[in-house]
Amino acid sequence: MTTGLLTPGRARFRLPRKQIPVLATLALLLVMYGIGVSQYTAFSNVQVIFNVFIDNGFLLVVAIGMTFVILTGGIDLSVGSVVAMTAMVSAWLLQEGLPAALVLVIALLIGPTLGLLMGCAIHFFDIQPFIVTLAGMFFARGMCTFISGSSIPITDGFWTRMSQERIGDPRGNFVSISVLIAFVVVAVAAYTLAYTRLGRNVYAIGGNPQSALLMGLPVGRTRIAVYTISGLCSAIGGILLSFYTLSGAPLIAVGMELDVIAAVVIGGTVLTGGAGYVFGTVLGVLVLGVIQTLITFDGSLNSWWTKIVIGGLLFAFILLQRLIGIRYK
């Protein structure tokens, strides 16, 4: 969050150490999957993995956007509300009888616009990202209930087709279209971060904004861009969620920003910015998904254990990041 401080004598991180959090996440994921397979016979079914993707596709997309923001050292608390607002707006517009294509365009424009505005407020007026996106969160959530106090069902043909279409092999394993969309977003984001100028700028600003500025990098433009990207990802996530639930509800995705931040952190992205990968975030989302699946498979555990386990994992990974000495304030 505090991107403006030059700390002298900060150790340069060494390259192999950089990968440790991601590798730890991967190991954790494999161990958890192993436990699942050894405990429950049905767990080894491929469909279980596919279901994790189907249930968490929207979370994955939103987490990708959050990765960009966190890489620059910022934070975006508005994502959950923007997801809900996008789903709500599309449900409402479809109910009003607008054509599906137009609704898609409008719904996909709202998120980035809000993100752009928040980015501008953060950059031009030098207000903390935390408080600006908090306002964005209130705004989007307020808009949801402003549109309707209760859930709006979606009956549009395009939406139901997207929701029910199954892509799979002859043995009956399948994924939904949402999963494919999520994969496309992951691929585009991974390419952007690794091979484009924007991606380099994101890492540079997260590493040290002052240096980035002195190097002549477009700090302001990049910072605004990441919040816009996060807004866009939230909007896509909202659309995917509306495919998944076929409705828009004002109180859906409450507290989702925490899951998203947890996924990004568990995926090895450092919260002060500058280090992390899209791949790590994918793993982080999978870890959350597998925890939920494990708890569902074990009928005796209650849903609140999910929260406790996620909290414990957050602690473990932050401690790990700290111990291996990745630059942390």
Partner: protein
């Protein structure tokens, strides 16, 4: 010298002036909309009326925001207060519900002491993470924010624990000298914190740690200990607020108690003029901030708008207050007005931009 001093005074006056003005405008708007808004009547020896309600309902928020003010002034943030509210409320209610005589004062006091003790441990956990291990505050407290909700539900076993205890209920709904007891508790906490921070050097030490923890440490202040204490105090305040919230409804719901109170508290602190970057704090501003938020909520209820929609108004208030307080925005604004920024703004600017 004298001129800068007086200008400085007008600046500090300014900081409380805007929040107070907002509060005044809100109350005025309410009175215009509903002429009976400000009327208070005496019934059965207790005062009733909208202003009293606002005071009573804002008491938990004031408490949480007090602790939050100190944490923020050390350059940190405490996201876990909502969960601490839920946990302490759950523990107190759980203990009371298990006893045969729920109205016994001893039982209630034991329950409160137990819950407060657990809250102190949780605060110490946050403090250790931030001050000893050195994790970023926002993420260190995020852990407890996520896990704490789960813990609260674990304590109540996912049920809503209902109790029937008169002494416990009094924390939220009781009266003292015709006024709600909750106000006095919040007021006492505020005075206590104010006395400790503003009558001793503690406040200045907290501010110096928030300004630059490393420099303060080199100057001989135990920065780590100060930061640790701030988190413990924040958790203690949150616990008392949790008692009030559960006492208000005589039941503990691990999911709902203190939900989003951390955001409201941060909002109250920011509205009150405390900089999120740390280094200075205004307790009186925080209290006014908490009153503003509660007034906003009550107004929205009174106008028959859905409570969730009040978030829209909150968003507008947050952005407006933050813009007014943002040095960059002020500089722009004043430059447009009279070409050169006034010296006071310049003197004020570096202070605001010191990051935590």
């Amino acid at each position: 010298m004298n001129a800068t001093m007086s200008r400085y005074r007008t600046m500090t006056g300014h900081r409380l002036f805007w929040p107070a003005a907002v509060l005044f405008v809100m109350l005025a708007a309410n009175t215009i909309y509903r002429p009976g808004f400000l009327s208070i009547e005496l019934k059965d020896g207790h005062l009733y009326g909208s202003p009293i309600d606002i005071l009573r309902l804002s008491a938990p928020l004031i408490l949480v925001a007090l602790g939050m003010t100190l944490v923020i002034s050390t350059g940190g943030i405490d996201l876990s207060v909502g969960s601490v509210c839920a946990i302490s409320g759950a523990i107190a209610c759980m203990y009371i519900s298990k006893q045969s005589d729920q109205n016994s004062l001893v039982v209630v006091l034991t329950a409160l002491a137990m819950a407060l003790g657990v809250a102190l441990v949780l605060g110490a956990w946050n403090g250790v993470l931030v001050a000893v291990i050195g994790i970023q505050p926002i993420i260190a407290t995020l852990i407890l924010m996520v896990a704490g909700r789960g813990l609260a539900q674990l304590i109540t076993q996912g049920q809503i624990i209902t109790i029937n205890s008169e002494p416990f209920r009094a924390i939220g709904l009781g009266h003292l000298l015709t006024l709600p007891l909750a106000i006095f508790i919040a007021l006492a906490a505020a005075l206590l914190v104010a006395a400790f921070t503003r009558r001793t050097a503690l406040g200045m030490i907290v501010e110096s740690v928030g300004g630059n923890a490393e420099a303060s440490r080199l100057a001989g202040i135990r920065s780590g200990r100060v930061i640790f204490l701030a988190y413990v105090l924040s958790a203690a305040c949150a616990a008392i607020a949790g008692f009030m919230m559960t006492a208000n409804v005589s039941s503990a719901d691990g999911n709902a108690v203190g939900l989003w109170v951390e955001l409201d508290a941060i909002l109250a602190v920011v509205i009150g003029g405390t900089s999120l970057a740390g280094g200075r704090f205004f307790l009186s501003g925080t209290i006014i901030g908490a009153l503003i938020i509660q007034t906003l909520t009550t107004t929205v209820y009174a106008m028959d708008i859905s409570p969730q929609t009040s978030l829209l108004f909150k968003a507008v208030v947050v952005i407006a207050v933050c813009l007014i307080q943002a040095p960059a925005f002020r500089a722009r604004f004043s430059r447009r007005r009279r070409n050169a920024p006034p010296p006071a703004t310049i003197a004020d600017k570096p202070k605001e931009q010191v990051p935590a």
